[in-house]
Subunit: 86 residues, 2 copies
């Protein structure tokens, strides 16, 4: 693969693994039903995203910083809904 | 931050955002209950992980390759359970 195709593949991965949390957040906001969601897993993912964000800031990598800020915001909504609705 | 600390922060993020899918998979395997999980979001995340894996292979990055293989395996379990239990 040439380098611009490789970049496009990485960017597609970054966008998909970020925007995917929007339908998940919307679903549980609408239904107020979070039983199937693992609190342990969701908290581990959220803390992991904080580490990715700190890593992105430390190496000044804009794709890492921007995608992890968006993901973190959506995860805080999901964690909040899980804590509220159990 | 010095570079070994930065690496440790990035590795912690990678490990957390990978292993977090194990408690989620275990939870829905045990309960056979997946209603709160968004199929759209889960599929988008899974396809995103495939792109991250292809990107990792293209740039020969072992942390990306190994963490995304593990995540993909766990996501296929979660997608399978979602398709089966609705």
């Amino acid at each position: 693969m040439n380098s611009s195709l490789i970049d496009a593949v990485g960017m597609t991965g970054a966008v998909l693994t970020t925007v995917c949390w929007l339908p998940q957040a919307i679903k549980i906001i609408r239904s107020r039903e979070t039983r199937a969601i693992s609190l342990t897993g969701t908290l581990a993912f959220t803390v992991g995203i904080v580490f990715w964000l700190v890593y992105g800031l430390a190496i000044t990598d804009m794709p890492l910083i921007s995608s992890n800020i968006v993901t973190l915001a959506l995860m805080l909504v999901i964690v909040g809904m899980k804590l509220r609705h159990g």
